[in-house]
């Protein structure tokens, strides 16, 4: 099901640019819940990238895959798996419709992120349509490339507000020969201590989580290395661990089903307390990434959480919510000015997903 609709997409953007008409960019619609819902988006025309699909180049020994943005994530993961490789950032899909373009635009990464890198780390290049309807290519299909500014990585996490992704090139890695997950019952403080101690030694760690008084640590690598690491850290070896990590990544664990807004908090891994007022129940946290990512179920007002997290030099995102629009951590005035200038540089008429990230963009 390969098809190239870049011309059509380009015409739609050019047309919207001339009319200064807002465009709402969609592909698989698997992450429609994510980001702000701006009034401008409600009246925007839909730009559907899902028809622009197909793997354009995949050479396992070059460790690179290039695909059109509308290619389903599942299709890419399956192809890689058949060749003993993977997307090392373990992106969540949240639906079978998820596309590789949406995955990169949101820069979401899964459990392996703290140990191998985020979506943006594996992005080697991309082709985009900017807000003027120009098709541009940045980066490429090679591992090292420092010609020009790193516009490709700028697209990761920009949620389409700087350009529509047409193609992405990603670095891939071989899957580990062996994996093992070890489980420990302990307090949050003990879990943090252990995760820090382990991550200061050359253990083949590839994921960690803590919730419900349970610490889980995944080891991945060469068979002998994993066996030795299991001996070193001990704990109880978890059966069917793959399923657990999959559920964590896709947010299907019980923790995520509770009826409260879900916050994604990114901060220093050794943070003990978020410093929220007692009645906001900050113990209701799920830890990932060696402590550097916390999922929090809380009714606390966005301002309260974001203020507390700012004090810790972190940032808090209202990941799943019902209508609150303070989704992303407010930026300092200086950074907002640069953001606005960049938005202007890529999308002078402000037609690409206006307000999706911040009301000012």
């Amino acid at each position: 099901m390969n098809s190239d609709i870049s011309q059509q997409l380009q015409q739609q953007v050019q047309h919207a640019f001339e009319r200064k008409a807002a465009l709402s960019i969609f592909a698989g619609n698997s992450k429609a819940f994510y980001g702000r819902s701006d009034a401008r988006a409600a009246s925007a025309e839909i730009l559907d990238v899902s028809g622009h699909r197909g793997v354009l180049n995949y050479e396992p020994t070059e460790l690179v895959i290039t695909a059109r943005a509308g290619t389903p994530l599942r299709e890419i993961e399956k192809l890689l798996e058949e060749n003993g490789q993977m997307l090392p950032f373990e992106p969540p899909a949240f639906s079978d419709n998820a596309t590789i373009g949406g995955t990169i635009a949101c820069n979401l990464s899964g459990p392996r992120r703290a140990y191998t890198g985020a979506a943006r780390d594996f992005l080697l290049g991309c082709k985009i349509i900017n807000g003027k309807g120009e098709i541009l290519s940045f980066g490429g299909e090679v591992m090292k490339n420092v010609a020009g500014y790193d516009v490709s990585r700028l697209m990761a996490g920009a949620m389409g507000t700087l350009g529509i992704l047409l193609e992405v090139s990603l670095k891939v890695l071989p899957v580990a020969e062996m994996e093992s997950t070890q489980l420990f019952q302990c307090t949050a403080a003990e879990a943090l201590d252990r995760m820090h101690a382990w991550s200061q030694t050359p253990l083949p760690l590839s994921a960690s989580s803590y919730h419900d008084s349970t610490l889980r640590v995944r080891l991945s690598g060469a068979t002998e290395a994993v066996k030795a690491a299991v001996d070193t850290i001990s704990g109880e070896t978890v059966t069917a661990a793959e399923q657990y990590w999959q559920q964590l990544r896709e947010q299907r664990l019980d923790f995520f089903t509770e009826e409260k807004p879900l916050w994604r908090i990114s901060l220093a891994s050794d943070t003990v307390s978020l410093g929220l007022p007692a009645d906001y129940n900050e113990d209701n946290c799920l830890y990932e990434w060696g402590g550097a990512l916390r999922w929090l179920k809380s009714d606390a007002p966005a301002e309260t959480i974001q203020y507390a997290v700012a004090e810790l030099d972190g940032h808090a995102t209202l990941f799943r919510h019902d209508g609150d629009n303070n989704v992303f951590q407010p930026l300092t005035p200086g950074l907002m000015r640069i953001h606005q200038n960049l938005k202007q540089a890529f999308d002078p008429e402000n037609i690409l997903n206006p307000g999706k990230l911040y009301p000012e963009l």
Partner: protein, 494 residues
């Protein structure tokens, strides 16, 4: 010969020097000819210019005031770390201020728990690993210049090293930056977590070659030192086989810590220089380093040896001990100066290609070498496709430098042609500005200029570098033919 651009300040040089002396101590403002001379070039000495004045501030506040002053009077500013850059990025501006970060040498904090180090921009790359060593940690990106180059320069160039394939480039190994914009504002980019809100300005700053802001603080990520590292040397009677062996190692599911290739001329030069015991009759050698836990390394060594033999290696040798490992690496690390001994001058290129194109590129390079009558030695970060052809020439022979530059330009264009890039790690700077016209079309270049303007609308930071003007491209007559369109149709032909 290589003048970057024509920005002129709206202040006399005397008044500028006077104002600068109000901000920093007298001995930190250099303007006498003999004091300026050491700053006239970076590691690419073919490009030289004497700046109006050199300043050596010590505090963030001083940098702020200097930039505010320069902004007010439209004075060009070129930041400089250690000046080891190989693309003329730190080449001074004749009408401008050269802002040296040489006094920013403090390691502010090492946090072993968070595995980060916060350092000033003038701290040397290797000094970070040395300071982190007591915690069993190190900073992974290791450019060959690591004893001299600064972390600020590394961020500005997105520098790599021999361990990039496994551990990434600078962009993968930093967590936070503090920069000062041209209008004197201090911005903190990213925070204490692994990611940040908003656009990825951390990535945008990395590799921006001093064009967007002055880096005044860097927080780098540290990694636990591998328990063990071991190197295997494999010799081949054919470069193509060596190239295939690289693919075969990766196909076996192994990502080596380092994977380097040298061709016959480079092998001979290195062997004469450091006596590493390299096989002189080989057409190419591979150095494959495996690192990790003890068990992992043992397991992978067996596997890699097997793969190398099956790939047709004529000899496979594993370093028996740390001393032998060091010696084998020494040959590679000293390859540039070693080649330098073969000829009065050498010119180091830095293209990246998809690895599978190696045979064609080596062949084409040999043809060009014959055509230009200039020998080339090849040193190659084989794992990630980053070529460092070293062209041997003699600057004292009239016309030979120009021929060398032209030959170098051809090599870069070749890299673009096969789907690669004109620079893998040394940056565009002044040197590859023309080849940017080959790699990017006019719309892409305009987009780069718009990004620059988002930070520095007056174009005062490192003017004339990294991204060519469309006029320059038209003059150069670049051959970027994009889907049959004429390049730069909006500009008159020269």
């Amino acid at each position: 010969m290589h003048s970057p651009d024509k920005t002129t300040p709206e202040i006399s040089s005397d008044a500028l020097i006077d104002s600068l002396q109000q901000i920093i101590p007298l001995d930190s403002v250099l303007f006498e000819k003999e004091d300026l001379k050491p700053y006239e070039c970076d590691g690419l000495s073919a490009y030289r210019a004497i700046p109006l004045v050199v300043v050596l501030p010590e505090t963030i506040e001083q940098v702020k005031q200097i930039l505010t002053l320069c902004h007010q009077y439209r004075v060009p500013v070129v930041a400089r770390g250690a000046g080891t850059g190989l693309s003329g990025g730190a080449l001074p501006h004749e009408q401008g201020v050269l802002l040296s970060l040489a006094k920013f040498t403090n390691i502010i904090d090492i946090n072993p728990k968070r595995r980060i180090a916060t350092v000033q921009p003038g701290v040397r790359n290797l000094a970070i690993s040395q300071a982190a060593d007591q915690y069993g940690l190190y900073y992974a990106p290791d450019p060959s210049s690591q004893i001299a180059c600064t972390i600020g320069g590394n961020v500005a160039e997105n520098s790599g090293g021999v361990h990039c394939l496994k551990y990434g480039l600078t962009v993968h190994n930093i967590q936070q930056l503090k920069i000062i914009t041209i209008d004197g504002e201090l911005l903190t980019i990213s925070g204490s977590g692994l990611d940040s809100a908003g656009y990825d300005l951390l990535a945008l700053m990395t590799g921006s070659e001093g064009m967007l802001g002055v880096i005044v603080e860097v927080t780098v990520k540290l990694l636990p030192k591998p328990e063990r590292a071991q190197v295997i040397l494999a010799a081949f009677d054919d470069v193509v086989k060596a190239g295939e062996a690289v693919g075969n190692i990766i196909a076996a599911g192994i990502i080596p810590g380092g994977l380097e290739m040298m061709d016959k001329l480079a092998i001979r030069a290195a062997e004469d220089f450091v006596h590493a015991g390299y096989p002189l009759q080989a057409e190419a050698i591979l150095l494959c380093e495996l690192d990790g836990t003890n068990e992992e390394v043992s397991q992978h060594i067996l596997k890699v040896r097997e793969v190398l033999k099956q790939s047709g290696a004529s000899e496979v040798r594993t370093a028996r001990d740390e001393a032998e490992r060091q010696v084998l690496w020494q040959g590679r690390k000293a390859a540039f100066p070693a080649v330098g001994r073969l000829s009065p001058d050498y010119y180091c290129m830095d293209g990246t290609i998809p690895r599978k194109q190696l045979p064609q590129v080596l062949k084409a390079m040999a043809d060009l070498s014959a055509e230009y009558e200039l020998p080339v030695a090849n040193v190659f970060h084989a794992g990630d496709g980053n070529l460092h052809p070293l062209i041997l020439y003699d600057a004292n022979i009239p016309g030979e430098l120009e021929r060398t530059e032209e030959f170098g330009g051809k090599i870069l264009e070749l890299c673009v042609e096969v789907g690669g890039t004109i620079t893998g790690e040394h940056g565009v700077g002044m040197e590859k500005i023309n080849q940017m016209c080959v790699q990017f079309n006019s719309l892409e270049l305009q987009q780069f200029h718009a990004v620059k303007a988002a930070f520095d609308p007056d174009g005062l930071l490192n003017p004339g570098k990294a991204v060519p003007s469309l006029h320059r491209c038209a003059e150069f007559g670049a051959m970027h033919v994009h889907k049959g369109e004429l390049p730069f149709p909006e500009l008159e032909r020269f």
